[in-house]
Symmetry: C2
Subunit: 83 residues, 2 copies
């Protein structure tokens, strides 16, 4: 079976996000003062071939831990959808 | 009212995503050959202060169009949750 994974990787709350801070400031310059607390992370989609949803879950988790996510500075969540 | 927006910005399907291609290859090197078609975009969260969900929707849409998303190469979707 083929699953589509949608992964969100965000900087941890405790960690300063300078890119987000810069964008928050720019919002003010654009007249969007009501927007605050911008935080910028990654959104990753991928296809995974597995015999069950459990197996797919494990593979995506391994991919996040070993390659996609720096666990010292980032956290991740993902969802799987059967295709 | 305060709303939290979760924005996903992805490269358009028609556009080559070299970062995603590189990550797809690395998956093979890690023994995760079942993972394919990795595409990498941005996940942005922000807070928006607005009197109604409609107004919040409009503000976030403006922010995406004017600042966050390059519409020539990327597409965006977002969801709003009242806080």
């Amino acid at each position: 079976m083929n699953f589509k994974a949608e992964i969100d990787i965000m900087p941890l709350e405790a960690i300063l996000d300078p890119q987000g801070k810069a964008v928050t400031q720019s919002m003010g310059n654009l007249g969007l003062n009501e927007i605050s607390n911008v935080r910028i992370g990654k959104h990753i989609t991928l296809m995974v071939d597995a015999s069950s949803e459990n197996e797919a879950n494990e593979k995506v988790d391994t991919a996040c831990k070993k390659l996609l996510c720096n666990l010292i500075m980032e956290s991740y969540t993902f969802t799987l959808t059967a295709q």
